[in-house]
Symmetry: C2
Amino acid sequence: MSDLLERLRGRGWRMTAQRRVVAEVLNGDHVHLTADEVHARAAARLPEISRATVYNTLGELVSLGEVTEVSTDGRAKRYDPNAHRPHQHLVCSGCGTIRDVRPTGDPLADLPTGERFGFTVAEAQVTYRGLCPSCV
Amino acid sequence: MSDLLERLRGRGWRMTAQRRVVAEVLNGDHVHLTADEVHARAAARLPEISRATVYNTLGELVSLGEVTEVSTDGRAKRYDPNAHRPHQHLVCSGCGTIRDVRPTGDPLADLPTGERFGFTVAEAQVTYRGLCPSCV
DNA sequence: TCCTACGATGGACTGGATCCAAGTCAAGAA
DNA sequence: TTCTTGACTTGGATCCAGTCCATCGTAGGA
């Protein structure tokens, strides 16, 4: 998705070699890398890149709305570049594999007013859990 | 919920002062304490209790199915004693308050076979996010 | 080409959680 | 009741993910 780089440039994002490799690593469907994995892959192309820079860049991509944070297991957060298309996640309880999925219906509609406790409810995140084909 | 203690004893759980206070602290509806909060409240009754014991005990309660882990924010996990009654969570994006909620319908039914990628899907966790009345 | 404000660096630091060796004790046996 | 033993507890070390900060480097406008 090289137009991610275009979009960022169009927003006045100062372009550096580090930011470019981070944006390039986060590319494709069903990509859910941890910050450390992003750092490892970025460092394969640009060995001097520091972890702090990766964290900074990921944080900015998140606040720009280009990437979303996913934490399915209470361990390291994962970064999902598929932010322009609403979706939920299907997680394998065995190996941790994550797939993007698009359920039918609107989960927000399933929360009756009486169960909202006066909250202004804005979104619903759904995590489906099960076993992938490899984990039986 | 003193029958939690009864259930545990009935399962052959060795009863100690530490385990008792941890189980007593985790009592009531809409209780979602972090391990540190559990430790602080337990220590108010039993000052010598160590953090390791709190973690051990919480871990056992989870694997016994008496308590569930909730991680809504990527920070510390929270422990929810309301495990015997299926429910979802409504989280305030402002202050972090968590309420147990019971949506209508079955979220699992909204995931078509074509979106399951061969997984055997076992459960769906839904996290509703919004603002509570105090956070406008 | 030069300037400078913004970005990158890496090492220290934090918070949450786990590990481990040594000490303690609940509960069954006698 | 006392003994015994394996399970439980302790606290300090350690780990891991993430953040902070002082300093250095550089993208991009003048």
